[in-house]
């Protein structure tokens, strides 16, 4: 978790660029390019400050005044997207917008949700994070993750208990009603699970629920859920699974649900302007007093293109944007309008090595070569220079995964050892390998790859880039076993904060994603998946991490960071699971 300010970040990154050049890890062109980018950034800042400085002060003053006005007439705000339209003068327009965000009882929070619109308003018929985020506002889940402990806590469920290895008994909250007045009951839970697992429904989320065998209604507010086997990550299935009202759904059908998100959530749909924005309005009868959403209206805007998103943030039109490129953090901070907010997330990066020759014979089938690759790269150096605050993942697990063992030592940066290992493996002259790269998945991806390529070359691992711009082609190549010797990859663990969420898919020999095959590890992962005892599982995954660390089926990297941009008038924090909850946002006093 980074506590670096953008200024420090800037200095550190810049110094490291020079060092990388001195050490011959990046070429001159890259250095000059980087210097130009930084210079442009630094140049743009005074420009922005000079032109925007006065406005910012005005904004602050105005918004204070306007906030007072709004508080006195909280319900006067009739137009959710009022934004700049109604302000007569242009500068007042911005102030009006800001002030909207500042009022305690009414006001509008404008969030840029995504670059492209949601395909549907049916929470079971998509597999997008942006959809999950939107439906956390209109709907509710049985459980929700605590952002401090990363554990799932009761939400629409009041409690749950594992009464038999494969049976979970769950008590449900009473007195919760959907936006249309339908009650939330045991019948709702049973119907929702049956819907999402019904093959004819063809929900893209069915994979999350394969271990759910059935749901039995005990009474109106009690259900028993049976799993196909002992299922330690059962509670993970209670989140990202939104409840929809069964009676309405049966009466109106799927086409209706695709347009009308009726849930129990803290916000209700007011209007979906396709391709533009989703306008939500606060649910006045929300069951959970702890939530107490501060903004009357929540606008989730669709804006393609990160530069435009950034411009909207800096213009004060957007209160929150979900992606701020690392090299723009300083621009945001010095704008006086918004701040960059950094949060470490669960997603882990790696360079996958073809340890089983799945895409043809590979030198990486030899464990010594794989370890040589890990010793050849200066992971900590890249983190310091290019990914400040990144959490190392010495055996692929992010420290946020349940089961992470902090005593597992990461590979040391040791080029001599790497050379020696290569020699022992029978490659005194080094090896030539392919390295498949896809669309950038983290900040500074190209720079990291290039630095790594140089470091590998220094010990004799000569990797040739093949870069694909199409994410689908890239994923298909990977999943169909044509990824080649080396391949960039990263894994979000389906937001499951458990070792099983990443080890199974990346390393179990039955997974379509894996380029590694080890019966011992398979056995451990199966044990881990079948055990319900947390301590036993900790031990199982500790053992598994030692195998993975030694076997090095990938070049281990780090847990990613994301950077959000938040307007200075808004108090809000992102979460490590990247499920933004805008109902927690408050105007700054």
């Amino acid at each position: 978790m980074s506590s670096l300010g953008p200024r420090e970040l800037h200095d550190r990154v810049y110094a490291n660029w020079e060092r990388f050049y001195q050490e011959g890890r990046i070429d001159r062109r890259t250095l000059i390019k980087a210097a130009m980018v930084w210079a442009a950034g630094a140049g743009a800042v005074p420009l922005l400050a000079a032109c925007g400085g006065d406005d910012d002060d005005d904004d602050d003053d105005d918004s204070g005044a306007a906030a007072a006005t709004n508080t006195s007439a909280p319900d006067a705000e009739d137009e959710p997207t009022a934004t700049t339209a109604d302000g007569g003068g242009d500068e007042e327009a911005t102030a009006t917008e800001d002030s909207g965000g500042d009022s305690a009882e009414g006001g509008t929070l404008t969030v840029i949700l995504s670059e492209s619109d949601l395909p549907t308003m049916d929470p079971h018929m998509h597999n997008l994070r942006t959809g999950i985020i939107a439906f956390y506002h209109t709907h509710d889940n049985l459980g929700v993750r605590n952002r401090e402990t990363n554990l799932i806590e009761p939400w629409l469920a009041e409690s749950w208990e594992n009464i038999e290895p494969t049976v979970w008994e769950m008590k449900l909250r009473e007195g919760v009603t959907f936006h249309n007045g339908d009650p939330f009951t045991a019948e709702t839970v049973k119907w929702n699970w049956e819907r999402v697992t019904n093959p004819e429904q063809a929900s893209p989320q069915v994979g999350n629920h394969v271990a759910i065998a059935g749901v039995e209604i005990i009474d109106d507010y009690t259900v028993q859920v049976t799993t196909t086997e002992p299922y330690p990550i059962f509670t993970e299935r209670l989140q990202n699974f939104q409840m929809i009202p069964e009676k309405l759904a049966q009466a109106e059908g799927d086409a209706y649900l695709a347009e009308n998100p009726v849930g129990t959530g803290p916000y209700m749909l007011q209007e979906w302007k396709k391709g533009q924005e989703i306008v939500l309005t606060r649910n006045p009868d929300y069951w959970n007093p702890d939530v107490n959403a501060a903004y009357e209206t929540l606008v989730l805007r669709i804006v393609p293109g990160l530069p435009t998103q950034l411009a909207e943030l800096l213009a004060g039109n957007a209160d929150i944007i979900r992606v701020v490129p690392f090299d723009q953090m300083e621009t945001v901070e010095s704008s006086g309008v918004a701040m960059p907010v950094t949060q470490a997330i669960l997603r882990v990066g790696m360079v996958r090595l073809d340890a089983m020759g799945r895409s043809g014979p590979s030198p990486f089938e030899d464990v010594r070569v794989r370890n040589a690759a890990n010793h050849a790269v200066d992971i900590q150096g890249y983190i310091d220079a290019l990914q400040p605050g990144g959490d190392r993942a010495p055996a692929l697990l992010n420290p946020k995964h349940f089961g992470f063992d902090p005593t597992v030592e990461p590979h040391e940066y040791d080029p001599d050892l790497a050379k020696q290992l290569l020699e022992e493996a029978g490659y005194p002259d080094g090896i030539d390998v392919t390295w498949l790269r896809g669309p950038s998945s983290m900040p500074n991806q190209d720079q990291v790859d290039q630095a790594m390529q140089r470091d590998l070359e220094a010990v004799g691992i000569r990797a040739e880039f093949e870069t694909l711009s199409d994410g689908n082609v890239f994923t298909t190549r990977h999943n169909e076993g044509n990824g080649g010797d080396m391949m960039n990859y990263n894994w979000g663990s389906y937001s499951v904060f458990d070792a099983d969420g990443i080890y199974w898919d990346m390393l179990h020999s039955s997974s379509i994603f894996t380029y590694y095959n080890n019966a011992d590890l398979d056995a451990l992962l199966e044990q881990g998946r079948g055990s319900l005892d947390p301590e036993e599982r900790m031990q199982i995954y500790a053992d598994a991490q030692r195998i993975v660390r030694e076997e090095a089926p990938m070049i281990f990297m780090w847990g990613f960071h994301s950077v959000w941009g938040v307007n200075n008038g808004v108090e809000w924090s992102p979460r490590p699971d990247e499920i933004d909850m805008y109902f927690t946002a408050r105007p700054k006093s």
Partner: protein
């Protein structure tokens, strides 16, 4: 005239047919729809079963024949992503695109014609040089760059105009339109301005202009009624031809300004490998471009009887 129109209509059908082939082949080359439609953890065998169910395993030519026979009836299939009719989605977005391209064209004409006349009339003067500078700059600036610069200057630094979006109907919409319209106008104006300039220059040396002047007509009348009118035909033709480019420019402009038009829809659908929508969008745009060009040729025919034959 009737034969002329019929001839042009046949040409149009052939052109749209050709475009439908190209777009169909290309969309099928850029990605595997199975990967879009199924979650990533789906096993290989399940994928193959699904591929067969959906008919994606059939030869491309058979799939194309199906596509074409439905498309001529206005059925481009259902969006993979939203499960709504692809053509409906495209038509929903069409007004935004037409509004923007129309505004861009008007602005381009408003800039180009006066500027071209002045340039021609005061050749090598300060104003001529200034307009040359504008033409060079307008041609040299990438459209997305200009868009971003306008956003930074007028949307962020000065805060005069909304940086992006479509706005509410009315004054708000007009405000949102200004920046993207400028981008498109600046993109389209230079070529038009050059044509007006050279056309008027040419006309000014003609006998009929000398005659008009000799008759003692006012310079303004000579310029507008005689010189400009006779040099406007190639300008109209080129405006028609450029309409296609303009829609291409609208794709970029719409993306930069989050303008919810067909161009943005096309980009989104390509990104999501939502083939039916991509195909519907491209074919619809092709039809519109063909119709505009046909209309332009007819207008020119009316203006200049020599062409009709």
């Amino acid at each position: 005239m009737g034969a002329y129109i019929a001839n042009r209509l046949i040409q149009m059908v052939i052109a749209v047919f050709g475009i439908s082939v190209i777009v169909f082949v290309i969309t099928n080359m850029i990605g595997d729809p199975v990967n879009v439609l199924l979650p990533p953890e789906t096993r290989f065998e399940e994928r193959e079963v699904f591929r067969e169910e959906m008919g994606f395993n059939r030869p491309l030519i058979v799939q194309y024949a199906d596509f074409l026979s439905d498309a001529v009836r206005g059925d481009f299939g259902t969006s993979f992503r939203t499960e709504r009719a692809a053509l409906t989605i495209v038509l929903e977005r069409m007004p935004a695109t037409l509004l923007l391209t129309l505004a861009g064209t008007v602005l381009a004409i408003v800039i180009a014609i006066p500027m071209g006349i002045i340039s021609a009339y005061k050749r090598y003067s300060f104003w001529d040089n200034l307009s040359t500078l504008f033409v060079v700059a307008g041609q040299a600036m990438p459209i997305f760059w200009l868009g971003l610069m306008l956003i930074i200057i007028f949307g962020v630094n000065l805060g005069w105009l909304p940086p992006s979006g479509y706005g509410e109907f009315g004054l708000d919409r007009l405000k949102h339109m200004i920046l993207p319209t400028i981008v498109l106008g600046v993109f389209l104006a230079p070529v038009t301005e050059r044509l007006v300039r050279s056309g008027v220059l040419d006309a000014l040396t003609q006998d009929y202009v000398r005659t008009a002047r000799a008759k003692g007509l006012k310079e303004r009348v000579v310029l507008v009624r005689h010189a400009l009118r006779n040099s406007i035909i190639p300008v109209i033709t080129v405006l028609g031809l450029q309409f296609g480019q303009l829609l291409g420019g609208a794709v970029i402009t719409e993306t930069v300004f989050a303008w919810p038009g067909v161009g943005l829809l096309a980009i989104e659908s390509i990104r999501n490998a939502d083939f039916p929508v991509t195909q519907a969008a491209v074919v619809t745009l092709a039809v519109i471009i063909s119709i505009v060009n046909l209309a332009v040729d007819l207008v020119v025919g009316v203006l200049d009887p020599r062409i009709r034959r």
